[in-house]
Amino acid sequence: MKKYAPAVILALLALVPLVGFSSYSMHVLILVVMWSIIGMAWNLLGGYCGQVSFGHAAFFGVGAYTSGIIYYHLGWSAWWGLPLSVVVVTLFSLVIGYICLRLRGPYFALATLAVGVILRVTAENLDKFTQGDLGIMLKERTWVEKIWYYYIVLILAAGTFWIIRKVIRSKLGYYFVAIREDQDAAESLGIDTTLYKTIALCLSGVLTGFAGVFYMNYMGYIDPKVVFALHDISIVAIMVVMVGGVATYWGPAIGAVIMVLLAEFIRSMPKLGAAHQTLFGVLLIVIIIFLPNGIAGDIPKLKRLLRLKGTGS
């Protein structure tokens, strides 16, 4: 049964649009799936390999801009960004990895934080190339119907899930976790930590880049403040994983559901809309105190808590 869970869930998700949701509900659903891709990608690097990144917006943005720039300058379909971003994001990740991966722990995190900001400022100022703050807009989106975007993002997410599970169950996965648990021990056991951290970074980056390409095509508009956003992309990527469950297969998806719904909910509240980051912060504190392994990681604990409540009432 457990073996077929991913296939069953995918089938159910594929059937969801047939229910006939409103356009807004479909939009929320698409965002949830997109955020699970970003969460899964972050989780690969941060959760499994232990290299916490505060700058995943960089990969998201590079993916989005790859797509936007080939559209704007070359007149290609922005969907070509999907294959092309693999090359661009990999090259970008190699450079970032070469510079940042020699740092450990919090130093790595701070360096990635800087990378995200540097990219935003660069994109703002290279206005001949990126259109700067004007942003890049698609003259018309491929489809008006949301359903096609939903299926595309769902395929991307399923692919991401499949790749990550494949990687984690292979030698690579063991090496990533070994590096997370103790880098010196890993090194002395013959693991080339620089190489494997770079692989984790590239994989994570490319998968996040896909989400960026999708975003460009789906939203039809990007600018540096949106796609290289620290609070709304980099931090949310971490929160999705922290809330859902670090180093679990389903955690990022669970986290994405909660974070996207919460963001939409808060946005709809009068006067509270602008305070969503404050509330995210409060949520993060609560999660860290009560469910340090996230929802998927602390399922036994959650069950215990719920059962206690059940018998008490």
């Binding site: 030698k171 090194e187 002395s188």
Partner: protein, 240 residues
């Protein structure tokens, strides 16, 4: 035949010489004991041999090939594995996965790595604990896990850094037995140990370090009777 050769190795940290001009060699299949008071530079020497440190001067050779200034993972793949004095288990992994992660080094595929891991756990008597998360292991078993993990990389030479410290008498006997069995496999060892009785009984040769310098070298009997060693190290206990 010389398996490992340490030639005129010095290691400076700022102005402090943690090792100065240390030379010795280890023959294939033998056990070399490395002793000395705290701070004598024993672990530093391991870190130089294992590649964590690049020696400030001098070089280390494995089968005639210079290995100093190589990265630890490279040195491990050439055949030198080590354990840590302060154990470094991969905490949130099971005992089996700990060993599996290092067995991947030589294995062509996962099945082969699993086989190797199971074999090593059997060899070190940890089979019953293979599904335990290593964070929860008692110290004695964690020390043994260090040995198991190192063995899973199929080393030609094993560096044991105080693998016997803090063990109870039963665990001690088991560990000594394991070391004997490792030796029967033809694996050369370098052993840091404070337990005089153990080091005297298992070593073929002993090197004594004091303040980063090689104080003496010889068979266990020679070292036991060396007056310099007795004053610098063994004798301290009688004065205290």
């Amino acid at each position: 035949m010389k398996l490992l050769e340490v030639k005129n190795v010095s290691m400076f940290f700022g102005g402090l010489a943690a090792l100065s001009d240390v030379s010795f060699s280890v023959d294939k299949g033998k056990i070399l004991g490395l002793i000395g008071p705290n701070g004598a530079g024993k672990t530093t020497l391991f870190n130089v041999v294992n590649g964590f440190y690049s020696p400030s001067r001098g070089d280390v050779f494995l089968k005639g090939k210079k290995i100093s200034h190589m990265k630890p993972n490279k040195i491990c793949s050439l055949g030198i594995a080590r354990t840590f004095q302060v154990v470094k288990p991969l905490q949130r992994m099971t005992v089996f996965d700990n060993v599996l992660a290092s067995a991947f080094l030589r294995a062509k595929n996962r099945a082969e790595a699993q086989e190797k891991a199971a074999e090593v756990l059997e060899f070190t008597g940890l089979s019953d604990d293979s599904e335990v998360i290593s964070k929860g292991l008692p110290l004695g078993k964690r020390k043994r896990l260090e040995i198991a993990r190192a063995l899973a990389t199929d080393p030609e030479m094993l560096l044991l850094d105080e693998s016997f410290a803090g063990l109870n008498p039963t665990e001690l006997n088991e560990s000594i037995e394991i070391v004997r069995k490792i030796r029967e496999k033809g694996i050369t060892m370098m052993v840091i140990e404070h337990h005089m009785k153990i080091i005297m009984s298992i070593s073929d040769g002993i090197v004594v370090l004091n303040y980063g310098e090689k104080l003496a070298e010889g068979t266990p009997a020679e070292i036991g009777n060396n007056p310099e060693v007795i004053t610098a190290y063994l004798g301290e206990a009688t004065h205290a």
